[in-house]
């Protein structure tokens, strides 16, 4: 069953006198439980596509259906609420809230979902345990390495029980060891919780783990391969 169905997506930026066509008619379906990498050269439109799939941006043209909800029909407040309950984010630069500890960062999204304190505290510790960083629960992002911060970001993304997780170049700032560990964690989450992951990446190691690789160039999908058995 498709949880994301993007049809005829165009995105044009008009920030300068010359309009920039970032996406030129993208059609994409993502099934539940997929571990998909969107790859392509810089400026190919990966991040734009991810932003649109994640409801952070809206297409100039085309429809984006997430489990039958057309994101274009949602107001800005509804969109924020939609993201809160349906989409998890892992960013390239970790983007944790710097003044909150690892546990508080993980709990924060559950607090926004109005989950009772006891329950969210327990869940946050479980998730930090799952990503192997429970011992650093009381550390703030500034006291954690890049790899550790990204693990917290994964825990935070999973905390809201999203329909899918969007990860934009999640390994770009990590060393090999941290990258492998993070990928292993995400793959484990995918297997264990059947979480749907969509990555934008240049990283071959991520591509090697992906079940499906969608290649994009000049704002168009030019390749879509599925790898059974990964």
């Amino acid at each position: 069953m498709s949880i994301i169905e993007a049809t005829g997506i165009y995105k044009t930026y008009q920030e300068t006198k010359v309009p920039v066509n970032a996406l030129n008619g993208v059609d994409l379906k993502i099934e539940e439980g997929e571990f998909t990498a969107i790859v392509g050269p810089s400026g190919s439109g990966k991040t734009t596509l991810l932003n649109i799939l994640g409801g952070l941006d809206l297409p100039t043209k085309g429809d984006i259906l997430i489990e039958n909800t057309n994101l274009k029909t949602l107001g800005s407040r509804q969109l924020i609420d939609f993201r809160l309950h349906n989409i998890g984010f892992v960013f390239q630069a970790y983007n944790l809230i710097p003044v909150l500890t690892a546990k508080e960062n993980t709990e924060f999204i559950m607090e926004l979902q109005k989950i009772p304190k006891k329950e969210r505290s327990k869940k946050a510790m479980e998730l930090l345990e799952a990503v192997g960083i429970a011992d650093k629960a009381d550390h703030k992002p500034g006291q954690l390495s890049g790899g550790q911060q990204q693990r917290v970001a994964v825990a935070r993304a999973l905390a809201s029980k999203p329909r899918f997780i969007i990860a934009d170049e999640p390994t770009a700032n990590l060393d090999s060891r941290s990258t492998n560990e993070l990928l292993e964690i995400m793959a484990e989450m995918n297997r264990k919780y059947h979480s749907t992951f969509i990555f934008a990446t240049h990283d071959q190691r991520v591509m090697d783990k992906a079940h499906r690789i969608v290649t994009i160039d000049d704002g168009k999908i030019i390749g879509d391969e599925t790898f059974e058995g990964r």
């Binding site: 932003n51 994640g54 952070l56 941006d57 407040r77 924020i80 609420d81 993201r83 809160l84 309950h85 984010f89 960013f91 983007n95 944790l96 809230i97 710097p98 003044v99 909150l100 508080e104 924060f108 999204i109 607090e111 926004l112 979902q113 935070r156 809201s160």
Partner: protein
């Protein structure tokens, strides 16, 4: 909400030095504003007190006297009236007075004067008139004598011991006349008073104006225990003494002093405005920097599902916390100083001191400890701070998440 406050609090202490500097701007502004206003209001209170010592907090007249100050609007003191006034527990003391206009002559000189009949002992207790005598002696309550201002004595070419002739209109159309020995010559700060007033004992004045019935008065000056209760006491007095009498407060009688205070207050307010602007810019620049610095943090929060309104609250809490820290420290620093200077006013010396004394004002700079000074300054600083939060409120309500991510 607890988490939002926690985020705001921690955000502030991420840049400890900046927060301390901003709070210091609030402390300084509030401290200076409190000291300035307290000193200013202290002086005003002192001026008003000096004026009220002359007039009383309230005056009771025959109805219509204040608008038309004629001797024909005088009234006879009745025991019942006195008992009624003394029956009001907020009233401390009552000072009867009789004022009328007359011609004063000595040899070939004649001048229009204001006759003021006073209870010499009580009046002196209240106004220290005996200290203003520059020649001769203060009034003897048992003698038909007068005190002249130095300017009037100079005009009439009179000296202590000379006899003054008074001729004027008495009560109910009679002619008032009399001759009185000059007991002393006084000097008051007001040229007008020095050249116009003739003081005499109340009984002497009553005999001068209407010798056929004792007890004629134009006013009863009423002194109250708590000046803050002025309006209440006025209303109660009016209610009790009935419509045959009018009750006037010092605010009407000393309207010229109030005008002076009002004008002076404007200059104080301009100084305060400058202080407020400095403080507001201090807070605003911090709020601006914090907003710009945290654009990425805001973008993260909105992207993961935090409503913009909650971010606005974080920003308001940040500004509020800085302001409250500044206000609390400002109050802690300023209050003991103001309290000390209220009970131990700064003494004024030299020519300035002489001038104060001439106006019957103690030569000190008193500080007011009225709660409204502390309250108003605190509220103004708080409101200014919260106004500074308008910028992040506007920014947060419309910032572009993706653009903010790029910063």
């Amino acid at each position: 909400m607890k988490t939002l406050i926690k985020i705001a609090w921690r955000n502030l202490w991420r840049n400890r030095r900046r927060t301390i500097l901003t709070a210091s701007a609030v402390v300084l502004a509030l401290f200076l504003a409190l000291i300035m206003r307290s000193m200013q209001f202290g002086s005003y209170e002192q001026m008003i007190r000096a004026g009220v010592n002359q007039t009383g907090d309230l005056q009771v007249h025959d109805t219509g006297y204040w608008a038309n100050q004629s001797i024909d609007r005088a009234f006879f003191y009745r025991k019942k009236l006195g008992e009624t006034l003394h029956g009001i527990k907020e009233i401390k003391s009552i000072l009867p007075g009789l004022q009328t206009f007359s011609l004063a002559s000595y040899k070939k000189q004649t001048k229009g004067v204001l006759i003021s009949g006073i209870d010499a002992a009580v009046y002196n207790k209240q106004n220290h008139l005996s200290n203003k005598i520059i020649r001769g002696k203060y009034l003897n309550p048992n003698k038909n004598e007068v005190l002249l201002g130095d300017k009037l004595a100079e005009f009439l070419k009179m000296h202590v011991g000379d006899t003054l002739v008074l001729l004027g209109q008495g009560y109910r159309g009679i002619t008032a006349y009399g001759i009185y020995r000059v007991a002393g010559i006084f000097h008051l700060p007001s040229i007008e008073m020095n050249s116009e007033i003739v003081y005499m004992n109340l009984k002497t004045a009553q005999n001068f104006v209407y010798p056929y019935q004792p007890g004629l008065l134009t006013s009863l000056s009423v002194f109250i225990k708590d000046p803050g209760q002025l309006q209440t006491v006025k209303t109660e007095t009016e209610h009790r003494i009935g419509p045959n009498y009018e009750v006037i407060t010092w605010k009407t009688m000393l309207s010229d002093i109030l005008q002076t205070i009002k004008a002076d207050n404007v200059s104080g307010q301009i100084m305060l405005l400058i202080l407020y602007i400095i403080a507001a810019f201090g807070i605003f620049s911090t709020v601006l920097m914090m907003t710009m610095e945290k654009r990425r943090q805001y973008a993260i929060m909105v992207s993961i599902g935090m409503e913009r309104e909650k971010l606005v609250w974080v920003s308001i809490f940040e500004t509020f916390i800085i302001s409250v820290i500044g206000i609390v420290i400002g109050l802690i620093l300023a209050s003991p100083i103001i309290y000390y200077l209220h009970f131990h006013p700064i003494p004024i010396t030299g020519e300035m001191a002489k001038m104060y004394l001439q106006f019957n004002i103690a030569p000190v700079l008193p500080f007011s400890i009225k709660a409204h000074i502390f309250l108003s300054q605190t509220i103004i600083i708080l409101v200014l701070s919260l106004l500074s939060a308008l910028y992040p409120i506007i920014y947060l309500s419309k910032f572009n998440v993706l653009k903010a991510f790029r910063h």
